[in-house]
């Protein structure tokens, strides 16, 4: 988005940038469904991006600091387009910023996995591996969406997700197959976070409708590829999946863990304290 304040153009000139397909979707599809879907995807990206950004200036190594911030930026980039798309389709006067900064916790639609606290470096990496193993095949499939904006965001995201997975998988292998201490921490992180991966594959009536319309991705169909890729990484990392039946869920209905509240308090503070403030 061009900031008119910073523009040397004549006052009153509208920003000239357009992303042609934002705010339009497939004829015959209920726009409210696409709004809800774009919010789910946008919130997953936004909240994980915010979590990763919390490592800024305190990662274990400077190279990791840079890497985690790069991941974070990619996710924020996706979130911006997805939330703008939702806002334009909804047409109720909101924009990407008000959706990100002025909603309360019960209105967020991200999965619980992405809001889990960073913990130690092993927990951050396990959370990232679980997300990336899902996200790469998801973005590949979404690139064929009948909704042109979703397809365009995904086509861009595929390359980034592949790069993210390479980073997170290599680090998990290094931690798991590393020292006794790094192995212990990586296994503990996996035990704690693996149950949260199930929610990534959950679907509901809304997504079923969008799958039929060629807009949404059939998450359940991605499960075999996720399982296969994760198993290969864990084998090399000498880690084992926990055998628990626990499947925490609720993020898509706005039922979040306490951790999201603290994340939002930090992320939204500026806009809440100084409404409509701009750079």
């Amino acid at each position: 988005m061009i900031d008119p304040q910073a523009s040397p153009l004549p006052a009153g000139t509208d920003p000239a940038v357009t992303l042609g397909t934002i705010g339009t979707t497939v004829p015959g599809v209920d726009a409210a469904d696409v709004v809800a879907y774009a919010l789910r995807l946008g919130d997953d990206s936004l909240i994980l991006g915010q979590r990763l950004s919390e490592w800024c200036a305190k990662s274990p190594e400077m190279e990791l600091d840079i890497a985690l911030m790069n991941l974070s930026l990619d996710l924020f980039g996706r979130a911006r387009t997805l939330l703008s798309h939702a806002a334009a389709l909804e047409n109720e006067g909101r924009d990407e910023d008000s959706i990100a900064f002025l909603r309360d916790i019960g209105d967020f639609r991200n999965v619980l996995l992405v809001e889990q606290p960073n913990g130690d470096f092993a927990e951050t990496i396990v959370r990232q591996v679980l997300f990336d193993c899902f996200d790469l095949p998801f973005q590949e499939a979404l690139a064929a969406s009948a909704d042109e904006t979703l397809a365009a965001v995904a086509a861009k995201a595929v390359k980034e997700s592949a790069y993210h997975l390479r980073f997170s998988a290599n680090w998990l292998i290094r931690l798991g197959d590393g020292t006794e201490e790094s192995h212990r921490r990586a296994q503990a992180a996996l035990d704690a976070l693996a149950p949260y991966a199930h929610e990534l594959f959950e679907t509901d009536a809304l997504e079923d409708r969008l799958i039929k319309a060629g807009v949404a991705v059939d998450r359940a169909a991605l499960r075999p590829r996720f399982d296969e890729r994760l198993a290969a990484i864990l084998k090399e990392a000498t880690l084992t999946l926990p055998g628990t039946e626990w499947r925490p869920t609720g993020g898509r209905r706005g039922e979040h863990s306490e951790a999201l509240g603290f994340l939002l308090a930090e992320m939204q503070w500026m806009q809440r304290a100084y409404p409509d403030s701009e750079w």
Partner: protein
């Protein structure tokens, strides 16, 4: 009506716009200008493709492009952010690669389509300082979203590598 002379003028204007994070390279050489349509009536549309979804330079580049086109005499400017097809380093021109090298940044090695997922870079990266191929990766992520950090084992200098995506 498209006007070839006006389009030529638009392309020349866009060649004066640089990525603020890679000031050696015009956005034309970077391969992010995907299309230009200009008419004799002062209207122009340029399609620009962001390098990365969250690249902080995207807005600045779009603004600079609009300013350059207005300065070149176009009264009605539209900049379209084209996400699809996604930008690839394969679109960096030969002149762009040469300029990267001169700036001490190793241009992307090989072609994006041949990248393996979980392996390190398939092609070897040549040191932009001494030309040695005896180099190693220090970090997969570098000073900007589009770069990784490498080091030469011969001249021992660290250098930026433009990631191949």
């Amino acid at each position: 009506m498209r006007d070839a002379t006006a389009e030529q003028r638009a392309w020349e204007a866009l060649e004066t716009v640089f990525d603020p994070e890679i000031p050696q390279l015009s956005i034309v050489d970077l391969g992010i200008v995907r299309a230009v349509e200009a008419g004799g009536d002062g209207t122009v549309r340029a399609d620009l493709s962001p390098t990365y979804s969250g690249c902080p330079a995207v807005s600045v580049i779009e603004l600079d492009a609009e300013v350059a086109l207005r300065a070149a005499g176009f009264a009605s400017v539209t900049i379209k952010r084209a996400l699809s097809p996604a930008w690839t380093t394969d679109w960096i021109t030969d002149r762009g690669r040469q300029k990267l090298l001169e700036a001490g940044i190793a241009p992307p090695a090989g072609e994006a389509s041949k990248m393996a997922l979980l392996d390190p870079e398939v092609s070897s990266v040549t040191c932009p300082h001494c030309g040695s191929e005896n180099t190693e990766q220090v970090s997969e992520f570098g000073s900007t979203a589009c770069k990784a950090l490498h080091r030469c084992r011969d001249c021992l200098e660290p250098f930026d590598y433009f990631k191949c995506i």
